[in-house]
Homo-oligomer: 412 residues x 2
């Protein structure tokens, strides 16, 4: 007889992470044009110095700073204008003592010049001569090559989920092609003869299939590729055939619906025989979410996760195991949780990690408060208005009013 | 001569919202299968009671509660088992006094039964008789029809950006088709002869085109449909032709690159003549971001927004004007900002609203701290590691160390 293992959430995460070394995500090259939401797989390095030349930060005149020594409102310095630099074009001249060149904001300083004087502190004196009413210093209003970003320096770190500012930063450093992770392919297979699709007519005694659709949405929201999302009959042979087929084209197979003891046994037995490494976790010491089964098939590099039937537990286990695993293998930084103070006392569950749904608000006194949302009978509607979940440690009796807590959000 | 109007951010938002009444987004029907990230356009109502029948929350026996009065460990009550209810099927019998039926968790109670007794408090006595060792009360371990959600009640509110939990809630209430907003179609037109695409070779004096790509990414991240994303020459006739063409197939035309005075005038003049309502804002009293131009064409129902060339300002103005307008017209609730305490004093700009980039961290004493990120010379890299922006009111001198601030995130 096989010993059935109930793991803590940390133990299950460790086991998953160990097996995940065999299904590390592959990468592909794409351009920054369609990269929003993708995860960078390699540090992206600047192709060139930013700026690539001595750049003016003002509209004014490029000068040798020493030429302006002592200039002020009443005693101007006079310089000959030898060039009118155009933005986007190289400066042509070499500034010698007594000379200057007009340079617009963002334009290039000519060789020999080492500082700018803003146009406000100058006056045209003749066609090719200006009066300067300010002493400037070397480097004033000038950005040196590579001062913003040095060629070869990391512009965006691997593991970053790319947003507009990252794509802008890549563009600014001349990076067009990048390596990103190819999302895991996910199959979702639900069972449960009592479950009826939202588009079918409900007969007496039947309940709606929730998990197929919420898991499908969650997978899409995390950027995974859903290769199949199906509901099958409560039949061991059918279920086995689906798992055998799914392991060939999926990195992760999620099953849902087997929450009763009989179905849990069936899920466990079938996964155990379909996967060459068998099932390695037969329950989690968490609340809600105990009936979670984990298996791994080495030959096809496929995880199988039997999720609890409880709709809230199904999504929280998806987040705590699969999303966190994906973040770990794609080098994403830990999500920054929301930090809030508990509105009320809440009891934990001795020996179990409790996932407590919570919503947040700002109190009249300006404090950021976490209000527990109690998920009556696993109803998914309780999640509709929440901001995430709080983990109550298995060794803690519960949370106290006013205690600082971390709220983990759902999704990447 | 036309008076040029510099608006506060609130004035510009009000004007935009006024004109937006003419381009309220259209809606379309989709199924919940591909709805993640879409915005619900109408309150979604439950198609049926949830549950739709008297449902057991335990494995046990459905009884008339009065039959169990006085039953306890030493004095059991004996009841005849008249049915073994299967999950997913209607109960067939009508329970009379002295009778009971087996009902699994989630199963339907037969007519006449009003309470459950958990299987743990029962014992098989003969083939069709059980002993009950507990008194139960009417309604115990039973969910009544509509107790979770009443038919017709709102399950998910309009304006919700749909995530997994919303889609699960819709499925649970038998909602398959929903009305969602059709995203605005956005054109991005950049100018600037000095700007060179990230895939082209950089010549001396040229700088990389950042805004085309960061705006394209931001638009995609907000769910907008980017109908064109092009860079055109600094030529008034070309620019005018592009705006004329873009207004025919876009709800919003964004232009970028015209930050110098000459280009700002050109952008203003062309938008003013291309749009039948002309330009109505010729600058914003914000820092950074002053050179922002707003125009509206009533005939084609198109907004035109001339964004500042400054890459950080370009994205913050996109967020403060366009994203907030989209949220308003799609009935989205206000974004919940992060609430943190300032790490240091920061000066504001008298008479201007300052948008200050900030990152957050949890201090050793458990406080949530906002650290200002100073965006030197508009460098977009300064945004890479930020969590959002703080608005410093134009009538405030600045922010004080320890002061509570709100950090607005970028995106929906």
């Amino acid at each position: 007889m096989k010993l059935l293992t109930v793991d803590t959430i940390a133990q299950a995460q460790d086991k998953l992470f160990g097996y995940a070394q065999h299904i590390l995500p592959k990468t592909e090259k794409i351009t920054i044009e369609n990269a929003v939401g993708r995860i960078l797989a390699e540090d992206a390095a600047a192709k060139e110095n930013v700026p690539s030349f001595y750049r003016s930060t003002v509209d004014g005149y490029a000068v040798k700073a020493t030429d302006t020594q002592g200039a002020n409102d009443s005693i101007p310095t006079f310089l000959r204008v030898v060039e009118d630099v155009k933005i986007g074009y190289p400066a042509q001249s070499t500034i010698k003592s007594g000379e200057c060149a007009y340079v617009p904001t963002g334009g290039m300083l000519p060789a020999g010049a080492d500082a700018m004087v803003m146009v406000e502190y100058t006056e045209m004196f003749s066609d090719d001569e200006i009066a300067i009413y300010e002493s400037t210093a070397a480097g004033k209003c000038v950005v040196t090559p590579g001062e913003d970003v040095k060629q070869g320096a990391t512009v965006v770190k691997k593991g970053t989920v790319l947003k507009a500012e990252h794509i802008g930063a890549l563009a600014s450093a001349g990076v067009w092609e990048i390596d990103v992770y190819i999302p895991w392919r996910v199959s979702i297979i639900s069972t449960g003869d009592e479950l009826i699709a939202p588009y079918d007519t409900l007969s007496l005694g039947q309940v709606r299939d929730v998990n197929t659709w919420s898991l499908n949405a969650m997978a899409a929201d995390c950027g995974f590729t859903v290769v199949r999302c199906i509901k099958v009959k409560d039949d061991e042979a059918v279920f086995r055939a689906q798992l055998e087929s799914a392991k060939l084209d999926s990195d992760v197979v999620l099953t849902s619906g087997g929450s009763s003891q009989g179905k849990k046994d069936m899920t466990n037995d079938v996964m155990d025989s379909v996967c060459d490494q068998g099932t390695f976790t037969h329950g989690l010491s968490i609340k809600p979410g105990k009936p979670t089964i984990l298996a791994f098939d080495m030959a096809t590099a496929t995880f199988m996760i039997g999720l609890p039937g409880h709709p809230v537990a199904s999504l929280t286990v998806f987040q705590a195991l699969l999303v966190n695993l994906w973040k770990a293998v794609t080098n994403q930084p830990q999500q920054k949780p929301l930090v809030a103070k508990m509105e009320t006392n809440v009891a934990g569950a001795p020996g179990k990690t409790t996932f407590l749904l919570a919503k947040t608000y700002v109190s009249d006194s300006g404090e950021f408060i976490a209000k527990p949302v109690l998920a009556k009978s696993g109803l998914i509607n309780s999640m509709v208005d929440t901001d995430g979940y709080i983990e109550i440690d298995m060794n803690k009796e519960g949370l106290k009013k006013g205690e600082t807590v971390l709220i983990h959000r759902f999704g990447l």
